[in-house]
């Protein structure tokens, strides 16, 4: 154990940067799971798949990884739209949403993982950005640029998403579809169309998160497994579907995880997600700001 205060402050700083990334990665899930009630377990796997594609694209074209993720995001969104239609056709429209739908997304997660393994092998993939080795320091507190730049982009994406959901017609319809499908239909809006757009948005966000992920750390084909617990813990902590809640939960989660890694050793950090997830489900299933169980 090491209680050096500078170390702790540094852990908090890098935890905040990591947390901003977690919040963005969880934002897409917050839209699908929180707003649409579609439990897309494959969300982290889609993010890791995007990270692989970004790594390949960066190596081939010397493009910046974050820019590359912006380019592939529309393709992922298109895939997401198709995916929702398949899910809707086979499960949602037959009123068999949750259990078989869960199995469907689990199968997808497994297929993505195995496909990455077959296509790229078991090696770690990484992408070098121009700023990867730079560090921005305030006094003795370091902000490595490979964390700082993705964190700033994540916050920008987060702000754009919030503005979109609050201010545009489609965005408000997405928030409404969660609350009252019938009212939406009475207003002449097709709920399935709105849900298609929202799910596409969520998968597009997974692609953007994949770009940030590959700048922050190398990934391999099984990386998604560890993110499942993290992202669902954050979305549940944030109170399903609440973007401000997701942001705060993400930041908090990053800090807790980095402090644990500093104090107990990095090999313990995966246990944090699970502990928080179970704790919240048992005690406060409505999240940090919701009513207790």
């Amino acid at each position: 154990m090491n209680f050096d205060p500078i170390l702790i402050v540094n852990a908090c700083a890098s935890g905040l940067l990591l947390g901003a990334f977690y919040a963005m990665a969880a934002a897409g899930l917050s839209v699908s799971f929180g707003l649409l009630d579609i439990v897309n377990i494959a969300h982290p796997a889609l993010m890791v798949a995007a990270a692989f594609v970004v790594a390949a694209l960066t190596e081939a074209t010397a493009l910046d990884p974050l820019l590359a993720s912006l380019i592939i995001a529309p393709l992922f969104a298109l895939f997401g739209a198709g995916l929702y239609r398949v899910y809707h056709f086979f499960f949602e429209s037959r009123g068999e949403g949750s259990i078989r739908g869960l199995a469907f997304f689990f199968g997808l997660m497994f297929l993505i993982e195995v496909s990455l393994l077959v296509l790229w092998g078991a090696d770690q993939q990484f992408a070098e950005a121009r700023y990867s080795s730079g560090v921005f320091s305030i006094g003795k507190v370091d902000f490595p640029l490979r964390m700082l730049v993705p964190a700033i982009c994540a916050l920008a994406v987060f702000a754009a998403l919030s503005a979109f959901l609050k201010m545009t017609f489609v965005g408000r319809a997405i928030s409404a579809v969660a609350q009252d499908r019938e009212a939406l239909r009475l207003m002449g809006i097709d709920p399935v169309r709105i849900k298609t757009i929202a799910f596409a948005l969520s998968v597009g966000l997974a692609a953007l998160a994949g770009g940030a992920l590959i700048v922050i750390q190398p990934v391999d084909s099984s990386s998604a497994q560890i993110f499942v617990g993290r992202l669902f813990a954050i979305v549940i902590m944030g109170g399903l579907g609440s973007l401000p809640g997701t942001l705060i939960a993400g930041l908090l989660f990053g800090v807790i995880e980095d402090l644990t890694a500093t104090l107990l050793g990095p090999s313990w950090s995966p246990a944090i997600a699970f502990g928080l997830l179970l704790g919240f489900l048992a005690l406060r299933p409505r999240g940090l700001f919701g009513a207790p169980a």
Partner: protein, 322 residues
Amino acid sequence: MNGATGFAFWRNGLALALGALIATALALRAVHNDYAFYLGYIVFQYAALAIAWNILGGYAGFVNFGAGAFFAAGAYTTVALNKALALPLPLCVLAGGFTGAALGLIMGSLTLRLRGVYFAISTLSLSVVLQTLVVNWTYVGGSSGAYIVRPKAIPLFASYTEFLCLLMFAIAATAALVAAAIERSSIGMGLAAIRDDETAAAAVGVPTLRLKVLAATTSGAIMGMAGAPLPFYNSYLNPDSAFAIGYTVNAMAMPLVGGTQTWLGPVIGAALLGSIQQLAVAFISSSASLVLIGLVFMGFVALAPQGLIGLLRSSRATRVSR
């Protein structure tokens, strides 16, 4: 299930299981090939896992994504007990069952009060966290794994592999008996009521939470038992092989392919998918077999929700109605 029919069920069931055990033993002896025992072990192991998963997943409709974690918990119970007390394997199997049951009880009582999705999500990360614990636990070998000295010979059996294979058969048969008993009892009816409409079930007085936790505990116990012989089967166990995602996928895919309403469904699924995978591993590659299993899994989930048994039934029904 009342007393008399209950007794008849157990008597017939046990006689059937014992008969099947002896028949399997003789058949495998006749083949007289250690590979047959290896293959048999894998199929029986998957059958036990699939039947266990189905008790909660099929009967009650609660998806457990942590089958692999329960399985690995049983395997690591054996490693720890073998190192600490040099316990013989049958006792390790019981201990593995206890570990699995305890895990099921804890997970179930913490999350089964909520919608089924939450139980599913928390079991999804169970595997990651148990793996973390094992990697940090140097006593059982940490990330580099542990070796198990396998006895050369064992009385009454031709080889140790034969013993393992028949032990696994006994575990699978126990699982089938327990599952069949649950189906026929008020527990099974209560679970079916929960699957169909939990609110309505609770309203007519079904003790939903107690039944769900009971199902999670039973299912966990069998998964732990199925994992316990693994270290002896492989002579070596490391976290990556014990927590391989393939166990989880198979434990779910097999009931879904076979059919989730009775214990026979998972058995059919295990026999079918288990042997297809072994063939694919032998003739194509292990990653090809994983892709195959993923595709079959998704295909059945989307197109044949009642599994093969359901397909057969509906084709027979249409033939009769014609």
